[in-house]
């Protein structure tokens, strides 16, 4: 297929033939794909381009921001008053726990000191705002308004007032990308509150989550609460993650199909908290040479 329907005569030379150029550019694109997916070596290029594109991105966000703020300005007084009352009520109802927590934390510290255990570090956090969801149709990511300038680092956990939302996977100077827990490749190590059964939860599409690789006779019931187990050293333990909605036990399969729904407002926009780095795990025990080594993990964090 030539450009104008016929090949140019050799004395009107226009460079390589279209097919040759196509092959060249396809080769470059495939190279980029492999480099980015397999070796993750293109982050520097991404950072550079992102920095150049950033003003345009902020500008594109301005009308949406304007509409949101304008809408907020026009919210009626009654609605605000209702919300205020609701918030005050909620504060009162949780005050009991909050007041006791300080006391409990102190007690915990003392007990741990008595038992000569490693002290738990208090969780620190940074407020951030979800700006928008990334325009990639194939993954569930959102962009928040804090970046590496505000010392956000990849791997940090993002929560809202109800539970875990996701994990920071890529940082730019002024923005960062958060992969939501409903993303297909995002894995969160969890524990069932009722019986302490540990597992890993994955995204299942359509805003749902799925517990994979649990035996068909595993002790899981609809309505079970799942919290982070903290075994990976990245997620703090005890953060609410999901609630089991349906358990299908099919004897034809070795594993049960367990669907869960997130507790936090994962797919809704708003304010979030980026939790700080948490305590480092004790060094892993030396592996014996004769034992077969564990397989190299995937992208997600698996509990040992």
């Amino acid at each position: 297929m030539s450009v104008v329907g016929q090949q140019p005569p050799p004395f009107f030379n226009r460079g390589p033939a279209p097919l040759a150029r196509l092959a060249f550019f396809i080769a470059i694109s495939l190279l980029l794909l492999v480099l980015d997916l397999r070796f993750h070596t293109l982050e520097w290029a991404r950072q550079g381009i992102a920095l150049v594109v950033y003003p345009l991105q902020r500008l594109a966000y301005a009308p949406v921001e304007g509409i949101q703020h304008g809408g907020g300005y026009l919210t009626s007084l009654v609605a605000l008053k209702d919300e205020n009352d609701l918030l005050r009520q909620r504060q009162l109802s949780t005050a009991n726990q909050l007041l006791r927590q300080e006391h409990l934390e102190l007690e915990n510290q003392r007990l741990r000191a008595l038992l000569d255990m490693k002290l738990r570090q208090p969780a620190t956090g940074q407020m951030a705002e979800i700006l928008y969801s990334a325009r990639d149709h194939f993954a569930r990511r959102v962009i928040i308004d804090k970046g590496s300038q505000q010392s956000i680092a990849p791997g940090q956990v993002v929560v809202d007032e109800l539970g875990v939302i996701g994990q920071v996977t890529r940082t730019f100077p002024l923005l960062s990308e958060v992969t939501l827990i409903t993303d297909k490749d995002q894995a969160v190590p969890v524990q069932i509150v009722r019986n302490g059964l540990r597992s890993v939860i994955f995204g299942a599409g359509a805003g749902n989550l799925e517990l994979r690789f649990l035996a068909a006779n595993a002790d899981v019931q609809a309505g079970d609460m799942l919290v982070t187990s903290g075994l990976d050293g990245i997620y703090l333990s005890g953060l609410p993650v999901a609630k089991v909605t349906r358990v299908d036990r099919d004897t034809a399969y070795a594993f049960a199909r367990i669907l869960c729904e997130p507790i936090a407002g994962v797919e809704r926009n708003g304010q979030v908290l980026v939790l700080g780095r948490h305590e480092t795990l004790p060094p892993a025990p030396p592996e014996s040479e004769t034992k077969n080594r564990p397989e190299k993990g995937r992208k997600g964090k698996k509990p040992q």
């Binding site: 297929m1 150029r21 694109s29 794909l33 980015d36 293109l42 594109v53």
Partner: protein
């Protein structure tokens, strides 16, 4: 008032390079507006790229498509090479079909653009599904339909600077 039409055989003024790049930048800007997962939000960049690849096959081709694709890869937080691969193939096809498509009236042109845009989306879908992403649902393809609907107004809009006469005439609006 004389309106520019496509059935007329007027000779257009040559396009200016800065205008081509300005419209491409505008398309990238429009694609950055965070509309969430609004189904049918047109694929501005693919549409504008197709337009210039068909109108100006000697100016806009696979090289430009590659460059724009990489910018889109970064700005939409997808995998590097996903957009550039699809756009390069789009530019190749659009360049090749430019003479054929231009001889049709505008609504039929839009019909011929649609498979090009759908093909672009299919390439992106295939790229991501192979490496294990989730299928975004059939509403994903509505983007191409949204873009094809815009072909008619977009042609007038983007050709407007080329309709200007060489000498300014006070009594003529355009």
């Amino acid at each position: 008032m004389i309106q520019p039409t496509h059935s007329s055989n007027r000779i257009l003024r040559p396009v200016r390079d800065w205008f081509v790049w300005f419209t491409m930048l505008l398309a990238i800007f429009l694609s950055m507006i965070p509309v969430g997962r609004l189904p049918g939000y047109p694929e501005w960049v693919a549409l504008t790229l197709t337009f210039w690849c068909i109108r100006e096959p000697f100016k806009v081709g696979m090289g430009s498509a590659m460059l724009i694709g990489i910018v889109m890869d970064v700005s939409s937080a997808s995998v590097m090479g996903q957009h550039s691969l699809a756009y390069v193939m789009l530019a190749f096809t659009a360049n090749g079909l430019s003479r054929r498509i231009l001889q049709f009236p505008l609504p039929q042109q839009a019909l011929q653009i649609l498979p090009l845009l759908l093909g672009t989306q299919l390439i992106m879908l295939a790229t991501r599904l192979i490496v294990g992403a989730e299928f975004p649902g059939l509403t994903y393809f509505l983007e191409s339909f949204g873009a094809a609907l815009l072909w008619y107004p977009l042609t007038y809009l983007l050709l407007l600077p080329q309709y200007q006469p060489h000498e300014k005439d006070e009594n003529r609006p355009i």
